[in-house]
């Protein structure tokens, strides 16, 4: 697991952790069943408060990315293929939504945006 905290970021530290762990699980860099550092170890390594690391793990657990087994530790949760696909779709959706937001800010029409997307897809394939 690799986590980089930016003090200057407007995002709270726990959100930065959640986002980076999720990204690594979705990308397959963190494999199912992999043992993660304990809440207190994570706090020590990142030099952050225990409350912050606990909150990050609570959030990841609530979203089904990690499992905590009492007395054993915290592990990357089993991700079924469909669930993972859905999460990846969600990432695409979020990025498209951001692009739509940018486009609307500068007054781009749907047709222009669709054309741009078509060209990008053709280029990539």
């Amino acid at each position: 697991m690799r986590i980089l905290i930016a003090n200057s970021s407007p995002d709270p530290i726990y959100e930065q952790i959640v986002r980076q762990v999720k990204t690594q699980i979705i990308a397959g860099e963190l494999a199912e069943g992999e043992l993660l550092p304990s809440i207190r170890k994570l706090a020590q390594d990142l030099q952050i408060s225990v409350i912050t690391s606990k909150r990050a793990y609570d959030e990841l657990e609530a979203e089904g990315f990690i499992d905590t087994v009492a007395g054993k530790g915290t592990f990357v949760a089993a991700q079924n293929a469909e669930f993972l696909r859905e999460k990846r779709m969600k990432v695409v959706e979020e990025k498209l939504a951001a692009a739509v937001g940018e486009a609307q800010l500068m007054g781009m029409e749907y047709g222009q945006l669709a054309e741009m997307l078509r060209l990008l897809c053709e280029e990539a394939s």
Partner: protein, 291 residues
């Protein structure tokens, strides 16, 4: 109180000539780091001295590990490691002699830990205490506190007069200590950057009173500083306005809800996340010593 509090302070009052503590209450749950911040003279040291039973309060109660700190003084103190600003050791006695004299008072004293830390900190164990620099004296106090496996470390301005390298090292040691979730740390400081990352709870003392006491994340994630023109102040809901001051080119305001702030003020104001320094400075703005 829950048995899981390392420290619970309730309604402490103490009147001195020209200074008074008023109804000070806060708690530190077991397993966490708590920070007492505030300007010099706000009362941080007095509060710590009362917890250590070195000063008797006029009113109020202190419980440590759920025990009354006076009725169970011996047990409570044997489980506390205490580091304070001006360490109270004997000047004409060597560090090693301190170890022999003081170690026997602690049931869980560990010579091996003392030796390891003394060598890591490069302490001259055969020198007299008074021959040490201020930084070295603080390091020695820390070694003594860590060598008896204390469940609670109480430190009054431990980082004052220490270089940044050792301050980092100290903070790292605190979070190492907390790997054992029964251990807790309370430390006072006016160097708030030391606390900004590792502390779990923050208590701000202002003129002998608790100005706020809450989880640090709540403070740093939700509080903000807005800078704008004088008219901006009028648009901020008084319920979230926690402090302000006039600057040469505008106004600075501290608010406890960044989202409500963004809704209330226009785009011409600049909004930043609040730092502990901002909180301390803006909440004590207007006090005589903070002017």
């Amino acid at each position: 109180m829950t048995p899981d509090d390392a420290i619970e302070v309730t309604g402490l009052s103490k009147r001195f000539k020209g200074f008074a503590l008023k109804d000070v209450s806060f708690r530190l749950p077991r397993g966490y780091i708590g920070g007492l911040i505030g300007p010099n003279g706000a009362g941080k040291t007095t509060i710590i001295k009362i917890i250590m039973n070195l000063v008797r309060p006029d009113a109020g109660a202190v419980k440590v590990f759920g025990l009354d700190h006076r009725a169970h003084e011996v047990e409570v103190k044997s489980r506390i490691g205490f580091v304070y600003d001006v360490p109270g050791f004997w000047g004409d006695i060597s560090l090693n002699a301190h170890r022999r004299a003081l170690g026997r008072f602690y049931p869980r004293w560990n010579d091996a830990v003392f030796d390891r830390l003394a060598s890591e900190f490069e302490l001259p164990v055969n020198k007299h205490f008074k021959a040490l620099s201020h930084g070295m004296q603080t390091k020695f106090a820390l070694v003594m506190a860590l060598s008896h496996d204390a469940d609670l470390l109480i430190m009054d301005e431990p980082t004052a007069g220490l270089d940044p390298l050792f301050r980092r090292d100290l903070l790292q040691r605190l979070s190492t200590l907390l790997q054992d979730e029964r251990k807790s740390v309370l430390f006072s400081t006016h160097i708030t950057s030391d606390l900004a990352r590792v502390a779990d709870f923050i208590t701000l003392i202002r003129k002998g009173e608790v100005a706020l006491s809450l989880p640090k994340d709540e403070l740093l994630d939700r509080w903000a500083v807005a800078r704008g023109d004088a008219a901006m102040l009028g648009r901020i809901d008084p319920a979230i306005l926690r402090g302000s001051r006039r600057r040469a080119f505008g106004v600075e305001a501290l608010v406890s809800d960044v989202n409500a702030l963004r809704r209330a003020i226009g785009p011409e104001a600049v909004v930043d996340k609040a730092t502990l320094d901002d909180v301390m400075v803006l909440m004590t703005a207007g006090d005589a010593h903070a002017a």
